[in-house]
Symmetry: C2
């Protein structure tokens, strides 16, 4: 059925030009007369031509594909991150291949350099600092690498200032009467997947409270994994420690949502008996009227993609870093 894909030869023949010229318009080379370019583009259109990335790569050019290594893809955070990456990459006609890591074994496989993940033009590493996995803390590749939602002095890094976000949260809640509580999201037990963002948020939060002179005893901190259920349990725990009004900072919106739901179920009024502040700025926060520290996830993705594009073109320069600031989104007073 379906015919063999047309190649650059057919396009050249149809447009009445040489192979080199077709290749030049494909690569946006400036030295092509506008009319010629138009003619070639038309031929490609008519033929339904689409370049073969393998051939492009083998010929020493680019494959126009970028690999994204990330822990998994089923959360709101990664959905937004991918959206940000895709936005700028697609515009430059780059495709992206996702490589969810999921497990140590898989990570190892990806990092064998014969793997497809390494044969693309560049790498985005999300949420991981892979230093400990390799000697000298360098990936076994000579392709450009950009970290996002993680940082490492050897590579370009784009990340959120989570400490600052925690400070914002602390400064805000310190203004209200009532005891102050916080829910910290647990880190993964597996070292390969260890992250520090949640700890940083809590550190900033603690510091702001201290500066404001508000007490924050150890048992006002509840630790749980990332789930709504965690928020529910936390609130019940807090209510044994103090009576309303309560102020609760949750290290992630998903957890905050659980707090909010449990409060409602217990007949407590959110924003009055229980004041909840989340972190992430996920779309659903606005829907349910949850105040939250917004994280510019899409912007992080976009910035990382831009950095990578620059690296893929330019001559080597020392790695840079880019810390984005959290912003603020406060739900309507309930």
């Amino acid at each position: 059925m379906r015919k063999k894909q047309p190649t650059i030869h057919e396009v050249a023949a149809r447009a009445g030009v040489g192979l080199g010229t077709v290749s030049r318009v494909l690569n946006n080379h400036p030295a092509v007369r506008p009319e010629t370019r138009a003619r070639v583009l038309r031929a490609m259109e008519e033929l339904g031509y689409t370049p073969n990335p393998h051939a492009r790569r083998i010929a020493g050019g680019r494959s126009y594909t970028v690999s994204v290594l990330l822990p998994f893809v089923a959360t709101e955070f990664y959905r937004r991150l991918i959206e940000g990456l895709e936005g700028v990459l697609l515009e430059k006609r780059y495709d992206l291949a996702l490589f969810p890591i999921l497990s140590q074994a898989r990570l190892k496989r990806y990092l064998e350099s014969s793997t497809l993940a390494y044969l693309t033009d560049g790498l985005i590493l999300a949420s991981y600092d892979l230093t400990e996995h390799f000697e000298e803390g360098r990936l076994p590749t000579d392709r450009p690498v950009v970290l996002v939602d993680a940082q490492n002095p050897r590579y370009d890094s784009v990340y959120l200032d989570n400490f600052l976000g925690g400070r914002l949260a602390g400064a805000y809640l310190a203004r209200f009467p009532g005891a102050i509580f916080a829910i910290k999201v647990e880190e993964e037990p597996d070292r390969a997947f260890r992250r520090t963002v949640f700890a940083e948020r809590m550190a900033g939060f603690g510091e702001a409270l201290k500066e404001a002179g508000r007490p924050f005893p150890e048992d006002h901190l509840y630790v749980t994994r990332l789930s709504q259920e965690g928020g529910r349990l936390a609130l019940r725990h807090f209510l044994e420690k103090a009576s309303p009004p309560l102020n609760v900072f949750a290290g992630a919106d998903q957890v905050a949502l659980g707090v909010l739901e449990e409060a409602q179920r217990l007949g407590l009024t959110p924003g009055k008996d229980v004041r909840v502040l989340g972190f992430d700025g996920h779309p659903f926060a606005e829907e349910v009227g949850l105040s939250t520290i917004a994280q510019p996830v899409e912007a992080m993705g976009a910035r990382a993609a831009q950095l990578l594009l620059e690296r893929m073109q330019a001559t080597p320069e020392p790695p840079g870093r880019c810390a984005l600031s959290p912003s603020w989104w406060k739900g309507p007073p309930p």
Copy 2:
């Protein structure tokens, strides 16, 4: 830093053979003398040679990569499925590239045939019947395709007999005294992600109950999305309809887990006041002593991979189907 990868030329030179011979050992061609093969393999080893998939593909051979299109990868089900696929694929020295679909837009992009996903040697489609997305219900590719956890007459399909699984569940619970309830997992509202497995399980369950002469009024069915929370809510709902002992069939282990937890929290004895039966046979079921209808997920993956391997080698044959049967795992009586 890191040197350029060695090529087949260096290997040939070092082993003192021609290019063709190196290629032959690479492709397991039988017509190579054992000593020659050994010599070449040693040279590859010493050089740290690793073949370039792009070049292999471009040269008309295989890229030794298989694409797996799947909804997302963060659940237990897909972890097991990937494990099953990898097991047989890695053995044949095939690599697999995962393409989580996540959204309609992304699905469309993957299906433009210029995309990396299509330039591999074969496709595994998990959980989707993509008929409605294309004219004539065929994917725009001439590479072999195998569906897993889904079925379509035009392609090889490997799936579980969910109806039978439901029947097993019904026949089992019908033996016990007390009212019978069931929890059905909601289908995705998005048509692209629509699945029928949960409905099939319930249909089988209902039929078995009917045959056993056990009543199953409409309001004994609770519908929820796939979450533990759903199980909790369901149990509370059921307890308003009837008093213990209760028998509950949950369409997925994760939901069953919620039922179990809520029962314990309410001071009810699992296996006595509330008998819970799950579906999936996830590893954690055994840990918590949850009875469940086991789904051979790894086996499904393995079978699908085998079928694909066959298709990638052999001449076209009409598509086949392979329905695996659920098995039974009953937890220790609590």
